[in-house]
Symmetry: C2
Subunit: 288 residues, 2 copies
């Protein structure tokens, strides 16, 4: 089927000037603190991608790189300092953290008015309830902006979400529901995935399983958004994170029936980085 | 079809002795503070139902009845006092509040370790993420215990939820998802409700529309749970709240195809009251 490519790099470039203008119009460049604990290569790569984009839009990234041996108390005091610092407008703790640290406690320590990832309880409640000032987590916002750019409206449509994580599947479901879609959430315990996804107008896949969704999972004309970022040997290189990536969708197969489809790399990934800085702009704009 | 009645009054009676024994075994009777603002007759009726049940299980209800003219600051100071009081283990603010008060701010003022309704942000994040110590809001817990009593397992089943409120539809969806059901959430903007619900093994209706779901919405053998509590002239009286109530399900029609169905009154309503005190028991049992 002839299909539209939902091109995250194109959309991100299109949005970049407005964001740059907004940040440039502030009295001084805003600061986004990114806290990294340990040396996971994927975390280092994601932080590099965020830093590169930040430079383009005029945001100063304060990368605080801490050793894996740091104690929880020490990490919390670093967060507390950044909560207090009036020049810092956004704080991200790069996940996952080492198992020696309690991820929930650490996330909750971030001032909700600086929580650019939208993961603290105050923000979770807001995006779940559809509060007008809600900040959706970056991946969800990235999917939203990607569909919006291509004028794909989900109001009254049937949206299938494959995956149910707190970082991606659940906020995607909340968003789609708040936007008046009928939403079905499928996952590893769904007995017949294809039977469910085949009925959906829009299928968003965030399962972390390479090639899970193919043509047989889709009705003709479906819109397919691939949130998967799986590192696989010998696959295409995502320049910005310097890794070889493959999505959760078998692109060659799915694109034979889809009316629109996002590739990996170059689909949701670049949008997620953009969305993080759109969230930062919202944090600065609004009295929380 | 021959069907089982999911009888909330029977289940509540069956659960009452264990709850009474638990509360009776404490050093002194626990206190549940119920704060009412204004004189809505439905709120008064619900509080009466909760107080009657509390007396049966050995919980002291401290009913704080405030005038509609109270200011937000005054209400917050009443909550703060109850947060501090070491003999108070649970605090409920009866909803809805008058429009002059900001419901979200008021709910967030309740100490999460005393939030028996599970509506504060800290608890919302927990039930959404499926945290083992999560307290689901009372209606969701009531539905869970009702199904569990009749040994209806939702693991791997398809559950349709009709309604998407923060009080009922969304926590029900989170719970069903966390229990490994495949979950579809339908609502007023779903173009063909019957087409969706007809595919579900279990249909839970919380839409606030009398008689919305009937036989044509159900597959043969479906389990139907009716969360609706609509006050309608000339209908059956729910003794405990003293109102004439009708559900969201056309019982006579739906029961011709359902394998199990909850009535209104006498289904989820009594279970919700029970669940509130099961939540209180969990708050007392656990260091939050």
């Amino acid at each position: 089927m002839s299909h539209i490519i939902l091109d995250g790099r194109v959309v991100r470039e299109a949005r970049l000037p407005a964001l740059k203008e907004f940040f440039g119009g502030l009295a001084k460049p805003p600061v986004m603190t990114i806290i990294q604990v340990g040396d996971r290569p994927d975390s280092t790569a994601f932080i590099r991608a965020k830093s590169t984009f930040a430079a383009k839009v005029g945001v100063t990234v304060r990368h605080i790189h801490l050793p894996e041996s740091i104690t929880q108390a020490e990490l919390l005091s670093v967060i507390a300092e950044n909560n207090k610092a009036s020049d810092v407008h956004g704080i991200i703790v790069q996940l996952p953290l080492p198992l020696s640290l309690d991820q929930e406690t650490v996330i909750e320590a971030i001032d909700p008015t600086k929580d650019a990832d939208g993961l603290s309880a105050a923000n979770v409640k807001r995006w779940l309830s559809g509060h007008p000032a809600a900040l959706y987590p970056a991946t969800t916002r990235g999917v939203r902006e990607l569909l919006s750019h291509y004028r794909i409206d989900i109001f009254g449509r049937k949206v299938a979400i494959v995956g149910r994580s707190m970082l991606v599947g659940k906020p995607l479901a909340a968003w789609a529901l708040n936007e008046n879609a009928t939403v079905i959430v499928c996952h590893s315990k769904t007995p017949d995935l294809a039977a469910e996804t085949k009925q959906a107008d829009i299928v968003i896949v965030a399962a972390g399983r390479p090639g899970l969704v193919s043509a047989k999972h889709l009705k003709s004309g479906a819109v397919v958004v691939d949130v998967g970022i799986n590192t696989v040997q010998g696959q295409k290189l995502e320049e910005e994170v310097g890794r070889r990536l493959v999505g959760d969708v078998d692109f060659d197969s799915a694109s034979t029936v889809a009316s629109a489809i996002s590739p990996v790399p170059g689909g949701v990934g670049p949008m997620t980085v953009l969305a993080l800085f759109e969230n930062l702009a919202d944090l600065i704009r609004k009295a929380y």
